[in-house]
Symmetry: C2
Subunit: 225 residues, 2 copies
């Protein structure tokens, strides 16, 4: 197909397509004449992945390139997961003290991980921020940890399901890592909203939902007989 058709199918502008080719994210199309280039279905699939990583996953062009390269390299799925995790992590500073606390927490949970896992630094940065704000809200850490473990299990189930074909499995790892955070953040906004409405002591937002709020708790009608 020509660039115009590729652009239309993927909803990525021809200028952006050319940019991704220049930046080495998308292989160049095949020259079929002066000023004419043909793109294949593989180009289309690759472009959809690039778009998802950058627009939804929030990756930079450099980060997306690293992930795509690791997908195609001969390394293990563990290496693909490591790269996807690293580039999809924010660059943060964290104190040694908080890093030590996170490592202790990981040990307490019985988790065995790479000592350079980028999640350690990210969690430590959050600990630092809580401490700087005069907080020690980490009581909820156990529930966050249990929820996170349940999610990691399904994330890895996906990888196992796809492992017949290493290329498909690598693709799955990348997509699940880059987009899973966003899915979870979206669900957290939805469930916070839901939970805040279930609790009568919380004031509700000004704009109520179309749906009926839950009926008030029965036991608020006291036993007058």
């Amino acid at each position: 197909m020509r660039i115009a058709q590729l652009a239309e199918r993927t909803n990525v502008s021809p200028a952006s397509i050319k940019f991704y080719v220049r930046e080495g994210l998308l292989p160049p199309g095949e020259r079929i004449g002066p000023n004419q280039t043909a793109y294949s279905d593989e180009h289309e699939a690759r472009l959809r992945l690039i778009k998802a990583l950058i627009e939804v996953g929030g990756l930079t062009v450099d980060a997306a390139r690293s992930v795509l390269e690791s997908m195609q390299a001969a390394g293990s799925l563990g290496e693909v997961l490591g790269t996807a995790q690293r580039v999809a992590s924010i660059e943060v500073q964290a104190s040694e003290e908080s890093l030590r606390r996170v490592r202790e927490e990981v040990e307490r949970q019985g988790w065995v991980i790479d000592p350079d896992n980028p999640g350690l630094k990210q969690c430590a940065a959050v600990f630092d921020a809580y401490l700087a704000l005069g907080r020690s809200d980490l009581a909820r850490l156990d529930i966050y940890a249990a929820a996170s473990l349940a999610i990691a299990e399904v994330d890895l189930d996906l990888v196992d399901a796809a492992d017949a074909d290493r290329q498909v499995a690598a693709h799955t790892v990348v997509v699940a890592t880059a987009l899973g955070d966003k899915l979870l953040a979206g669900l957290r906004r939805i469930t916070q909203d839901h939970v805040s409405r279930k609790r009568p002591q919380n004031q509700l937002p000004a704009r109520p939902c179309d749906a009926k709020p839950p009926a008030p708790a029965r036991n608020s009608q006291t036993n007058k007989r």
Copy 2:
């Protein structure tokens, strides 16, 4: 205290402090002489919050300003939560079809929410990306949903615990919303790593952890007697 001391205590440069004052995030200090300005403990606390929102939470200056303004406005905690959720969400496009699917999913879960909750669009954008990639990996959605609900419950517990003082409660909502996503993303990287090592069929990353890997499963030794 003087600006140099404020800078040292919070690890924010004097130039950035002046920038936050110009941008309306931090109230100006008190003029105590020509070229001399005094800052209070309230300035210090506010500056730590600004730093956490921007550096760890990843908020833009405009987003941080909106959150800080909503904290100080007379609105309900639900409104503070709504603002924090909105500004901490990525700006995404989503198809009507995927939005409808997310709404159906919310209804199926029995969740009652604001029809404009920003999580709806964020989840729909992830659905769109999966569809564009030829995937229907949404089998795991139930587990993500259950995990997210558990997290929202503890998030709101925090708010309830703090609700004696509305200003403290608002502060808690803002911090939990902006930093909770990052904590969860960090934990997800850690637990994915842990789970991938528990599963013998997954190749492990090249650089192993100091700790011993778990022993191989017993039932791989078949019943030769």
